[in-house]
Symmetry: C2
Subunit: 394 residues, 2 copies
């Protein structure tokens, strides 16, 4: 059996950017992936400005607490002043540019205004309350690297540079299909031997949450002709094809044969629970990920093993996880497979869902993350363990 | 000054659901908020089924390892079988329903098939490899509570129940406006005394990331008539109005006067850094949040203080944070304000961004979360601190 790290490593050997670039409005860029490093085109702030409401002076003029300085100008944000005459003060407001000649802002609480002049009661150090040009970003600086998924603050940072359009990777198109004669669609009638298809929705949610475009092929009848047609359609329309079910060795299913006939397929057994069966291949040149069929296995396998591969195809250059260490409120013996346990974090520590069966999807909805239990690692109540909140995998 | 907890508590006193309910397709429900508890309508799985490819038998018939059992039927997933005749076996595949009369599945690896019969070489305990009806969810069980934001796995869970449409809260509409004569829009020419408006994009990103609908009013000229008109428009179109800048006591700005004239406004000073000035009021009956103007203050104030309020308005019933404890790679004295430090998590611990100035938006893009430093809490290098990854605040 492959370890989880081996499986991810093998997939990444075959991974590579599978999308082209498009230019979009910055306002629409949340979650999109930068196609190039973003270097600063200007200094931010573009000029020294005042951090306070107060009076801009030359520091040398403020040393006598009994000598009022005439107020020679008034400078509000957005309305630049003129050179400051010696031995005068400029009334100035937060965010306004410091006039040439001034070097210090005295906050208004430390001043007294009398008949058009101002008395500096308490002189701060030279340079105080001045936000220096380029304090945030210096022209030429690499602000955001290629491959970064844009967050709210990154949008703000780019806006502060005057950037209104950005080059991003097109959304990765991922085709999703499920096979299995037992599956019926939610909203339709069920019947003997049938179950509702949950995997399609779990996959839709995960893939859309990662910013991908889903090509949804629904349930495909478990016949060679139907699966062949669906796979060809998927490969033509999408950058990656994902299916759930039918990849165990020896299982009754036509997916494996069809993928092999249209390209190639490798069946893996991964030392992971939930999970184990996993297939990687190509359908007429388009990469194919074959996930196991059990609901929790689908969820965990795509989160832990599929995600790094898909992120690489999308051009996301940083997907490595840095698990938190949190206290387990349970004990559990390690075994020969790496386990991803569904847990809920509380102020006291991590609670384990009672059933860790791969068929119990309720465990993933009850929980807010996974504990990674390495091969042969015994978890002891009260000791710290590796915790991956679901939000970290989003 | 108010503490952060006091400020959140005061806001929540005024918070309440501000949106109505709509029914949408489950496929479109990612991130949407449930309007009602979701009780299970059926058992899942709906019947006992096989966890393995193998042979379904009555346990009592399998005790003699030399006595082959005739194979009386073949049951694939989706194709229910018939009552199992005594002293026979049913060939069965993963996911297929256990036929009435059978109680155990023997995995195929422990059997030998000979001329239409099967020899049970190793009999497992009674009930083995049978996934019991209702193992995942029992009919009537409360699966997901009202106020839950739907994640991928929740969509899967609802689908497994046959649910194809869900009642959710309509998206909260939040109007965003910025005032300040120094502000210009990205993509347009800048000039002396001007800076690009980043707050609009930071706010857009945060609010859309939380699933809200943004009513984007852009930059409003700093004149009473313009602000009055924009505020009236915002209050009419949105459920909540958010503005940035102009809420410091004594600051040169018309926002405070306009909001007061159209409703009411309270100016708060919160013991938080970055942050401090904050306003809460109403514009013609619509709640108004007035954020500070500095880019990092806007970001932190909305994340920490605005988020609980907005989540309550959206009907999200669980927004309490459970900070991780991680090791600080820096020391820092506590002070009289609660600080939210921009940090980056590494395998070794949390690194501090060199400049924690409220004007340095780069700190938020460089970082992947906030350290919460409580009032008078000294942070010591190597000791654990409260860490809020940005992903936890999404």
């Amino acid at each position: 059996m492959l370890t989880v790290d081996d499986a991810i490593g093998r997939l990444l050997l075959h991974a590579g950017l599978r999308v082209s670039t498009e230019e979009i409005s910055l306002a629409d860029a949340l979650g999109r992936v930068l196609a190039a490093d973003m270097h600063a085109g200007i200094d931010v702030p573009p000029a020294d400005n005042s951090a306070m409401d107060g009076y801009a002076i030359r520091h040398v003029d403020g040393s006598d607490p009994n000598q009022p300085l005439p107020i020679s100008q008034r400078i509000a944000a957005g309305h630049p002043g003129v050179n400051l005459q010696a031995a005068t003060a400029a009334r100035i407001f937060t965010g306004a540019e410091i006039p040439a000649g001034a070097d210090t802002v005295v906050m208004q609480e430390n001043c007294t205004e009398i008949e058009g002049s101002v008395l500096i009661r308490e002189l701060p150090p030279r340079g105080e309350n001045v936000r220096a040009r380029g304090q945030d970003v210096v022209k030429g600086q690499n602000m955001l690297p290629r491959g970064q998924r844009l967050r709210a603050q990154d949008m703000g940072l780019l806006a502060s540079q005057g950037v209104s359009r950005v080059s991003v990777r097109k959304r990765l198109r991922v085709a999703v299909l499920s096979t299995g004669d037992e599956l019926v669609e939610p909203g339709t009638a069920t019947g003997p031997g049938k179950i509702y298809n949950s995997n399609r929705y779990t996959l839709l949610g995960l893939l859309r949450g990662w910013g991908f475009e889903v090509v949804d092929l629904g349930i495909v009848a478990d016949r060679v002709d139907a699966i062949t047609q669906a796979m060809q359609q998927a490969a033509a329309l999408a950058d990656v094809v994902v299916s759930s079910g039918g990849v165990s060795v020896g299982e009754e299913d036509h997916v494996k044969d069809v993928v092999a006939s249209l390209g190639s397929i490798d069946l893996w057994r991964i030392a992971v629970r939930p999970g184990k069966p996993f297939a990687f291949g190509h359908v007429e040149g388009t990469p194919f990920l074959g996930l196991p069929g059990n609901p929790v296995s689908v969820f965990v396998t795509l989160l832990i093993i599929g995600r790094p591969y898909l992120f690489a195809c999308q051009g996301i250059e940083s997907w490595v996880l840095n698990p938190a260490r949190q206290k387990a409120l349970f004990s559990r013996r390690g075994n020969r497979r790496e386990e991803y346990l569904r847990v809920r974090s509380t102020a006291a520590g991590l609670e384990l869902f009672p059933s860790q069966s791969s068929g119990v999807l309720m465990s993933t909805s009850w929980g807010d993350g996974l504990v990674r239990q390495c091969i042969d690692e015994d978890i002891l109540e009260g000791e710290p363990v590796d915790f991956l909140p679901f939000s970290m995998l989003s």
